[in-house]
Amino acid sequence: MSARTSRLGLRTVALGYLAALLVAPVGMVFYRAFEHGFAAAWHAVTTPDALHAFWLTVLMVAIAVPANAVFGVGAALVIVRGRFRGRALLGALIDLPFAVSPVVVGLALILVYGRDGWLGGWLTDHGIRVIFSTPGIALATIFVSLPFVAREVVPVLREIGTDQEQAAHTLGASGWQTFWRVTLPAIRWGLAYGVILTTARALGEFGAVSVVSGKLAGQTQTLTLFVEDRFQSFDLTGAYAAAVVLAALAVAVIGVLTLLDRRRAP
């Protein structure tokens, strides 16, 4: 077989694989969503419950992304620049959400914050409700999307070294000035990449949120939970239309990622 045909063969296999696993199912979702016309789909995603689910998901992203961006950059700085013994352990701990199934995360949160959990009694006494409420969903979302920023920023920090920061110090910059003017701009691409992955993960989270939310329509139902709810209620147009909204958000995120990659390339 010539190099040309083998290359063509490889391409066909790769594209066929992607078509069967990605394009066809996602395409079907779009098709089924608009099967009964655009108006029906639009109606399905503008019901009060759907809108609530949409805004709750947006709120979760708006909480989880800044929280994990700040934590991720801080943790990366500690892992790379810190001089204490537990650094490797911290690095491993940060990867925990990658290793643990989201369902287990949800159960663990109930064990800690639930009515019979460690902190549950104290929280109930003070009138704070975490599980089956928005704070619980936020905690679950933050937990599952925690590693991305730190994982993206750590290698960038390693690569830039400490010379630029030390130069800034000798030029009179305080620690804070050095962070804002030198360190942060130097890691900005890694941070941006991490933020986008965090956003994508937070948008799509289902397992952990499903366990802690209680799935109350119009109250604790995120967009992914709304899709499941519509699907199980045989409202297929609603389920597919909401899925299309999720997919559109994800595509927007991928679009930003691609743009960033192009800017970072030179």
Partner: protein
């Protein structure tokens, strides 16, 4: 004295980088820290800059103790070995950095940066990024950046180390002229004895974390304190307990008082200077540095037997 270092010791784990180092640098002078790599020169520079805390001893700048004074408040400009440019900033912003963090007025910053870029011949490249500069240009940018905040002391870590030979020479001359104009007290680190001899008013030879000798270049060359300094500041022959520089070896056709026989192994003509490799009767090798005219007078050829003696030799007390 602009800079005084008293008994500074610095250890990294088991390794002693600096072992009770003391030195004094006069106001407005140009001093070289000369020595082999890994000898502690850069560490000493970093201790003076405040980037490393000494385990013992003290650094004084302009008479003030620097104990516990952070690098930000030492009035020290440091040019790093690889220049440490801020890669995300243009040349102009790099140079302006120190003034901006001091919150100087905009107009003042602009004027000062323009002036400095002219000084280092980078006016045309102000809007470039460090990645778009050559090594020599990057080095001059780092120098302008350090000078912008008008440091009392300028520290240069291997300032010419990463450059090719021709650029090195140009920058060396340029730095010398710059220093003559600005009179800022300067210390630079180098492992190149020629560079140190040519640029510095004072040379401090540092080896294995200790100061071997400090003095004017001519003193170090003429009166080295020990064999290490003697061999580091110039080529040298060792004959038992005696040390002889190649240019102090005299070659003759006939025996004279104090001369011994030697076999000519090799004659290398480098223009005016000719290097002759010889072997003495006891098997010791010896190198001599003579002029072209002498070689012609002697009709020197490889394989010939000549008579040698030294004009000048040094014996170090054990």
């Amino acid at each position: 004295m602009a800079i005084e270092v008293h008994g500074v010791t610095k250890r990294f784990g088991e390794f002693t980088a600096l072992d009770e180092v003391s030195l004094a640098v006069a106001d407005g002078s140009l001093t070289a820290l000369l020595g082999p790599s890994g000898g502690g020169k850069s560490t000493l520079l970093r201790v003076i800059a405040g980037l490393e805390e000494p385990d013992a001893g003290e650094v004084r700048i302009a008479g003030r103790s620097m104990d516990g004074v952070p690098p930000q408040r030492r009035g020290v400009g440091l040019v790093f070995q690889h220049y440490a440019p801020f890669r995300h900033m243009t040349v102009r912003d790099n140079v302006a950095f120190g003034l901006r963090v001091r919150k100087r007025p905009r107009d003042e910053v602009r004027a000062r940066v323009t002036e400095l870029l002219e000084l280092v011949h980078l006016s045309g490249l102000a809007d470039r990024y460090p990645a778009q500069l050559s090594g020599g240009q990057r080095q001059r940018m780092a120098l302008a950046r350090a000078l912008a905040v008008e440091p009392r002391v300028l520290l240069l870590d291997e300032p010419f180390g990463a450059l090719d030979a021709r650029v090195r020479r140009e920058l060396r001359d340029w730095l010398r002229r710059l220093h003559d104009e600005m009179h800022v007290t300067t210390i630079f680190v180098t492992h190149d004895q020629e560079e140190a001899m040519e640029l510095a008013e004072q040379i401090v030879v540092v080896n294995e974390g200790r100061v071997e000798q400090a003095g004017r270049p001519a003193d170090l060359y003429e009166r080295p304190a020990n064999p290490f300094v003697m061999s580091f500041v110039g080529p040298v022959n060792r004959l038992g307990e005696t040390w002889v520089r190649p240019h102090d070896v005299e070659l003759m056709r006939d025996p004279r008082e104090g001369s011994v026989e030697a076999l000519v192994d090799r004659v290398v003509r480098l223009g005016f200077e000719v290097r002759v490799a010889l072997t003495l009767a006891d098997g010791t090798s010896l190198s001599a540095q003579v002029t072209r005219a002498e070689v012609e007078d002697l009709e020197l050829e490889e394989g010939q037997i000549v008579h040698v003696r030294s004009h000048r030799s040094t014996v170090f007390a054990a």
